[in-house]
């Protein structure tokens, strides 16, 4: 089905990304999208939805639809509604809490069972800033988490939602792993550039320009 792709033609692809992780882990979403960090962010009830566009290279634009939900265990039963058709998942845990990694592992298991078989999963350790300040605060060793991720074929990142460290990079790595070629439609890419400009953006964020 995919038409031959002329690399000089602008490419545009849209992916659905779901955020999962223990509650209050400080999900990366708001940092990434709004470029701001609120210490006292309200907890999410039900669902939150945002979009973010990144420029992968000079002619490839990737738009993430980011879906976020409450982190409490029981919300898992709503999850199928949520991660159905997701292309990628960011499973967040807290580097300073061993138990949060266990929770993350159970999410990963769930995703591998229930979600698209080609879903790209990124295991993401948050609160890197705390760990860098004081290595003693770290409860999850990078080696351990990375080994687990490698074993299951997941991406692995350590980020700080607070300082924004490594966040853009990790989204970029995810984008690189996604099957852009399959999704891209050159005609659509050209068109959507025009359309995107003229259409009102429903949420107030600007491209992060990385």
């Amino acid at each position: 089905m995919s038409a031959p792709i002329n690399t000089e033609e602008p490419r545009f692809a849209q992916f659905k990304l779901v955020l999962l992780g223990e509650s209050a882990v400080g999900k990366v979403l708001h940092r990434f999208v709004k470029d701001s960090f609120d210490d006292f962010r309200e907890s999410t009830i039900g669902a939150a939805f945002l979009t973010q566009t990144i420029l992968l290279d000079h002619n490839t634009t990737v738009k993430f639809e980011i879906w976020d939900t409450a982190g409490q265990e029981r919300y898992k039963s709503l999850a199928p509604m949520y991660y159905r058709n997701a292309n990628c998942a960011l499973v967040v845990f807290d580097l300073t809490k061993q138990e949060s990694l266990e929770k993350a592992k159970s999410w990963i298991k769930e995703l591998q069972r229930q979600a698209n078989s080609d879903i790209v999963i990124a295991l993401t350790g948050n609160k890197l800033d705390l760990v860098q300040e004081d290595e003693g605060a770290r409860e999850v060793s990078e080696d351990e988490a990375r080994a687990y991720a490698n074993e299951l074929g997941l991406l692995y990142f350590e980020v700080s939602a607070k300082t924004g460290q490594e966040i853009k990079e990790s989204f970029k790595s995810i984008a690189e792993k996604l099957p852009i070629e399959e999704k891209v439609n050159p005609r659509q890419g050209r068109r959507s550039r025009n359309v995107d400009l003229s259409r009102p953006n429903t949420n107030d964020q600007q491209a992060c320009g990385c």
Partner: protein
């Protein structure tokens, strides 16, 4: 009640002294310290969130603008049942910008120590072991004595009565008789960044000018409605002592009637809401049946630590973080130079209510979103009542919604979808276009991703979904008219959304048609995803702009094309139908799973098999029409014809 602050201070400071190793230097009675302990106590629980206390400093800084009237005004308002100095204290407590303890008040608050009304409790509290639970150097996770609980319940109560008197004066200030000063106050209210409930006026979706423009109109409406309510109450013989502006919040209301319903739909006066909600939801009966139960629960859960309480602790400080009453106060200790944070009494109330509920109803325990429900209740009523309201909400109004498997959420979503299908066919067409593989999908069993967006409408009863004033108006109706309200309002919101949903879907479709002539079929599912994403944003963001509560209510209840006709029976039938159907489906999956051994999970259910199960369970009810039957529709039509005929004759 009056003495409690001083006494609590004593306990608190002795606790503090122990913790900091300053036992010698800390004076036994130091009222100013009363609040500090809370933070020290909870600082460790809050983990990551407490990393940056300067953020709350910033918050408090902006709060100082709030004082839309001189403190003396509040003093009078709040002093109707309490000693003025105390009201002033808690007023200061929450409005001072630098957060330094109001030192002048200390002497006043020291004196009434002996007047502690909770005599039995205070005796327990005086026992050294009880008061010094925290005497070990290692700070315990949470230690609380009944005494400190009393103290904080009292201070929460004072805050609440301040809110109430603020609400009273916020409308009283617009009374025509005090036109001049009223005008003044109104302008100053317009310059403050908080609404009368302590929430931030503006959001990403509502600008300050938009808010102020609306409030200018609405505040006049509020005053008018209040006067009409007072007249109505007088006529019903429930006048209380109505002397001008000091009409006390009534605790009883007239029996249900069309008139009263109309009044409720037009909004209950803000300062009466606590009483009205409690009364309409049949709270007094519940309270009577369970006398003393809440106090027992508080005692039982004092130092409870389990999965629920851990989840609660994580959420306490994420509940209305932008509301001043839920913001912790920070201050710099003059001696140590350290920033200290004292926990808001309302947060402490919130903790107790949620702890008690998790104990009272272990089947639910704690579910995220209950924190917001209780938080909002606490602005309007004392914590014992808030507790029983939560019981009523979870038992009677929203059964199953907060259960451990959240099945009730899915059932309600199914009912909402059915309602949309029945009453908003055009919206239904749009939603239906996002469903892939329609033939093999039963939306009641496999809820579409769009339903995910509307889960919070029920889980938090529109908190955070609609602007606060609109939310409160929905709550007014909910407690008076039962849960059909939630579906009526949901339908009204979708009605408002209708044009934008239709045009968004059309735009997406035409874009798709242009872009992929060659691959209509293969790209179909991608297209559905794109549409979903756009619709989701509309459904998520538009309600947040619905500041004009009156127009939302009008859309909901207007005679023609409104949703006032959606009856409770209809909703109940539909709920039963959806619940049964889903249960059958789950049972079939269960049966199949157990037939293949316990380690075969749902993944092992092949797509083909899932479809067969779906088809089977769809067939189960094929002969039975969905809860919202066509006959309802016809019934209404014939009713209308009858009405017209009677009018003609």
């Amino acid at each position: 009640m009056q003495g409690s602050v001083g006494f609590g201070g004593a306990i608190a400071s002795s606790l503090e002294g122990d913790r900091e190793g300053l036992a010698g230097s800390a004076k036994p009675v130091d009222g100013a310290a009363s609040a500090r302990v809370a933070t020290i106590k909870n600082g460790d629980v809050r983990n990551g969130d407490s990393r940056d206390s300067e953020f709350s400093n910033v918050n408090l800084g902006s709060v100082s603008v709030v004082s839309d009237e001189p403190p003396s005004g509040r003093k009078i308002g709040a002093g109707h049942s309490r000693e003025p100095s105390e009201s002033t204290y808690s007023f200061l407590d929450f409005y001072t910008s630098n957060g330094s303890p109001p030192r002048e008040d200390e002497s006043k608050r020291e004196e009434p120590v002996q007047e502690e009304p909770f005599l039995v409790v205070s005796k327990r509290g005086e026992e050294p072991d009880d008061a010094r639970l925290g005497s070990t150097k290692a700070i315990p996770k949470r230690t609380e004595s009944l005494m400190s609980t009393r103290t904080s319940r009292n201070s929460a109560e004072r805050i609440r009565s301040n809110i109430e008197s603020d609400l009273k004066s916020s409308s009283a200030s617009h009374l025509p008789s005090v036109k001049n000063t009223g005008q003044l106050k109104r302008t100053s209210f317009l310059t403050s960044d908080r609404d009368r409930y302590g929430f931030k006026k503006t959001s990403n979706h509502i600008s300050e000018s938009k808010y102020n423009a609306w409030w200018k109109e609405y505040s006049v409406y509020v005053v008018r409605r209040k006067m009409k309510w007072e007249k109505f109450m007088n006529k019903s013989g429930l006048s209380g002592h109505s002397s001008g502006a000091s009409f006390k919040a009534p605790s009883r209301f007239p029996p249900k009637s069309d008139d009263l319903k109309r009044f409720v739909r037009k909004g209950i006066p803000a300062e009466w809401r606590g009483n009205a909600w409690f009364y309409f939801a049949k709270g007094p009966e519940k309270l009577k049946e369970n006398k003393g139960k809440y106090d027992r629960l508080v005692e039982e859960t004092l130092n409870l630590v389990n999965e629920n309480t851990e989840a609660i602790e994580k959420d306490l400080h994420r509940t209305f973080p932008d509301n001043i009453y839920f913001t912790n106060k920070t201050s710099v200790n003059q001696e140590t130079g350290l920033v200290e944070e004292s926990e808001s009494p309302l947060i402490q109330s919130l903790r107790r209510v949620l702890y008690c509920f998790s104990q009272h109803n272990p089947a639910i325990g704690y579910c995220q979103s209950m924190n917001f429900i209780v938080g909002l209740l606490l602005i309007f009523m004392e914590e014992e009542k808030a507790f029983w309201m939560l019981v009523i909400i979870t038992e009677r109004l929203l059964p199953g919604i907060h259960d451990i498997n959240l099945e009730g959420v899915s059932v309600h979503q199914g009912v909402l979808l059915t309602c949309i299908k029945q009453y908003l066919p055009q919206v239904w067409t749009v939603i239906n276009s996002t469903i892939k593989d329609k033939q093999n999908t039963d939306i009641l069993l496999d809820l579409p991703p769009l339903s995910f967006c509307t889960t919070s409408w029920f889980m938090s009863i529109f908190i955070g979904v609609l602007p606060i004033e609109s939310t409160l108006r929905v709550w007014d109706c909910l407690f008076y008219e039962d849960t059909k309200t939630l579906f009526r309002i949901s339908l009204a919101i979708f009605k408002i959304l209708e044009p934008s949903l239709i045009s968004a879907a059309q735009t997406a479709k035409s874009r798709h048609r242009h872009s992929s002539r060659s691959s209509i079929y293969s790209n179909d599912s991608d297209d559905a995803d794109m549409v979903t994403a756009e619709l989701f944003q509309l459904i998520q963001n538009t309600p947040k702009t619905l500041l004009d509560a009156n127009s939302l209510m009008e859309t909901c209840f207007k005679k023609y094309n409104g949703f006032g006709h959606v009856s409770q029976d209809e909703i109940n039938n539909c709920k039963k139908y959806v619940a049964n159907k889903r249960q059958r489906y789950h049972e079939m999956i269960q049966k199949r799973t157990s037939a293949f051994g316990s380690d075969v999970d749902r993944r092992a259910l092949s797509e083909e098999e899932r479809r067969r199960l779906l088809a089977e369970s769809m067939g189960l009810y094929a002969d039975k029409k969905v809860g919202l039957r066509a006959s309802n529709w016809n019934g209404r039509l014939s009713g209308r014809v009858k009405r017209i005929q009677s009018r003609l004759s």
